[in-house]
C-alpha cells in the first residue's frame, strides 16, 4: 500500500500500579487492513485496544491516528475518537434510550447532523445489520446478538475510518455468534480498517489480513493468518495455539 499507516503505535508502555501491562509495544495498521489480536487472558489485548482511542493513557510511547498524535491531542481527542468506532464485549448500549436514539444521539450531538438525517442514516444502518424493525424498542428487549449488532450500527453512524472490536462475541450465546461475525465480515469486505481482539480463531483466519499474538504485554509474533496459525515461529505461539485450536 502506498499510503502511510492509519494507526501507528511506537514503544508504548502501560502499567496499572506495579503491574506492567504493555511493554514496549509497537504496531502499525494500514488503511483498509483487518488486524486480529489474539493471546491468553491478561496479556494486554484489551488494554492495547483501549489505548488506541484514548480510553487508557500509556505512560510512554507514541500513538498516531491518521497522522495525528493521540497523546498530545488534548481536548481534540473527542474529534479523533469520533472517527473511530469501538465495539465492546458487554455491548454498552444506552438502556434509557430506544434503539433508534442509541444510534442517532452521537451523530446529532457530535457530528451536528439534522435529527431527520440522523434518523434516516440510523434506519439504513439498522437495515444493514438486519434489525430494521427494532428501531423503536429498548435495549433490554434485545437478545445479545441483536444488542451487539445495534452497537455496531451505533458506531458506524459516526462514519468512522477505523473500527475497534474488543471480544465482540465473547458475551454471546454460541448460536448468536454467527450473526455478529457476519456483520463484521461484511464490513471487512467493504474495506473498513478494523482492529479486532477475539478468541474466534476460525474468524481470525478467514477475515484477518494479519494476526498479532500477544503474551505478557508484548507482541510475540505477527504474520499472515495462514503463516501464524499453520507455521508459528515462536514456541510461545505454538504453545498457545495448541491449547485453543
Amino acid at each position: 500500500m502506498t499510503a502511510g499507516p492509519i494507526i501507528e503505535v511506537t514503544g508504548v508502555h502501560k502499567s496499572f500500579g506495579a503491574n506492567t501491562v504493555l511493554k514496549d509495544v509497537s504496531m502499525q495498521v494500514a488503511p483498509g487492513e483487518v488486524v486480529v489480536i489474539i493471546g491468553p487472558s491478561g496479556s494486554g489485548k484489551s488494554t492495547l485496544l483501549r489505548c488506541l482511542n484514548g480510553l487508557e493513557r500509556p505512560e510512554r510511547g507514541e500513538i498516531r491516528i491518521e497522522d495525528r498524535s493521540l497523546l498530545d491531542a488534548g481536548s481534540s481527542i473527542t474529534e479523533i475518537r469520533s472517527r473511530m468506532g469501538m465495539v465492546f464485549q458487554q455491548f454498552n448500549l444506552f438502556p434509557h434510550l430506544s434503539v433508534l436514539r442509541n444510534i442517532t444521539l452521537a451523530p446529532v450531538q457530535v457530528r451536528k447532523l439534522e435529527p431527520a438525517n440522523a434518523e434516516e442514516l440510523a434506519l439504513s444502518l439498522l437495515g444493514k445489520v438486519g434489525l430494521g424493525e427494532k428501531a423503536g424498542q429498548f435495549p433490554a428487549s434485545l437478545s445479545g446478538g441483536q444488542a451487539q449488532r445495534v452497537a455496531i450500527a451505533r458506531a458506524l453512524a459516526m462514519e468512522p475510518r477505523i473500527m475497534l472490536f474488543d471480544e465482540p462475541t465473547s458475551a454471546l450465546d454460541p448460536e448468536m455468534v454467527g450473526e455478529v461475525l457476519a456483520v463484521m465480515k461484511e464490513l471487512a469486505a467493504e474495506g473498513m480498517t478494523m482492529v479486532i481482539v477475539t478468541h474466534e480463531m476460525g474468524f481470525a483466519r478467514e477475515v484477518g489480513h494479519r494476526v498479532l499474538f500477544m503474551e505478557q504485554g508484548m507482541i510475540v509474533e505477527e504474520g499472515a493468518p495462514r503463516q501464524l496459525f499453520d507455521e508459528p515461529r515462536q514456541e510461545r505461539t505454538k504453545a498457545f495455539l495448541s491449547k485453543v485450536l
Binding site: N53, L55, T78, R81, S82, G85, H96, L105, L164
Partner: protein, 218 residues
C-alpha cells in the same frame, strides 16, 4: 381531662395555612437544594483540589452541625448580610436549601457512581465530551435510581422544616405554638400538628412509591 376538638376546629384555617407554607418552603428548598447539590457533587467528584476541598468542607459543615444552628446563622447572619434586613421565610428556605444541598450532593454522587463505567466509555468512544456524556447518558440513568433517595430527603425536609418556627416563619409548627399560647393547652395543638405532618409525609411516600413503580415499569 377531656380532649377539646372544638379549639382544633377553630384553628383549622390557620393550621392549614401553616401546612401550605410548610409544603411551599419544603418544596422550594428541595428544588433549590437539588440544583445546588448537583453543583456541590460535581465539585466533590472533581480531581481539582480547589473544587473538591471547598465542596467537601461544605458537605461536612452542613451534615456535621445542627440544623437549628444553621437556621440561626442564616436568619441572623447570612440573610441580613445579603439583603440588609432579615426575613423569616427567605431565611427558612435558604437554610433548608443549603442544608439539603449537602445531603442531595451525596445522593447525586452515589447515583452517578453507580452507573456502569462502560456507559461512559461507550459515550466517549463515540466522541462525546464529558459534559455531553454526563447530560445525555449518566444523569438520565442516575436520576431514575436516585428517586427513592430524593423522596426520603423530601420527607426529612418536611419534618425538619418544623424547626423554622423558631425564627417565626408562620408555618404549621408556628401556628400550633400560637394555639398553645392562646388556650394554654398542649395536647390539642401539638397532636393536631403531628397528625397533619403525618398526612403530608405519608401521602408523599405513597406518591413516591407509585412513581417508582411507574419508573421501573416504563
Amino acid at each position: 381531662m377531656h380532649f377539646r376538638f372544638d379549639i382544633i376546629v377553630d384553628y383549622i384555617p390557620l393550621l392549614l395555612k401553616g401546612a401550605a407554607l410548610t409544603i411551599g418552603i419544603s418544596a422550594l428548598a428541595i428544588v433549590l437544594g437539588s440544583i445546588l447539590g448537583l453543583a456541590v457533587s460535581f465539585g466533590k467528584m472533581s480531581s481539582r483540589w480547589y473544587l473538591s476541598w471547598p465542596t467537601s468542607g461544605y458537605i461536612h459543615f452542613f451534615r456535621g452541625t445542627p440544623l437549628y444552628v444553621q437556621i440561626l446563622i442564616v436568619h441572623f447572619g447570612l440573610v441580613p448580610a445579603c439583603i440588609g434586613h432579615t426575613d423569616a421565610i427567605v431565611a427558612a428556605i435558604t437554610a433548608l436549601a443549603l442544608n439539603s444541598a449537602a445531603y442531595t450532593a451525596e445522593i447525586y454522587r452515589a447515583g452517578i457512581q453507580s452507573i456502569d463505567k462502560g456507559q461512559t466509555e461507550a459515550a466517549q468512544s463515540l466522541g462525546m465530551t464529558s459534559g455531553q456524556t454526563m447530560r445525555f447518558i449518566i444523569l438520565p440513568q442516575a436520576v431514575r435510581r436516585m428517586i427513592p433517595a430524593f423522596g426520603n430527603e423530601f420527607v426529612v425536609l418536611i419534618k425538619d422544616s418544623s424547626l423554622v418556627a423558631l425564627i417565626a416563619a408562620p408555618e404549621l409548627m408556628y401556628w400550633s405554638n400560637v394555639m398553645r399560647g392562646q388556650y394554654l393547652r398542649v395536647w390539642e395543638p401539638y397532636l393536631a400538628a403531628a397528625f397533619i405532618y403525618l398526612i403530608l409525609t405519608y401521602s408523599l411516600s405513597k406518591l413516591l412509591g407509585w412513581m417508582e413503580k411507574k419508573g421501573v415499569a416504563g
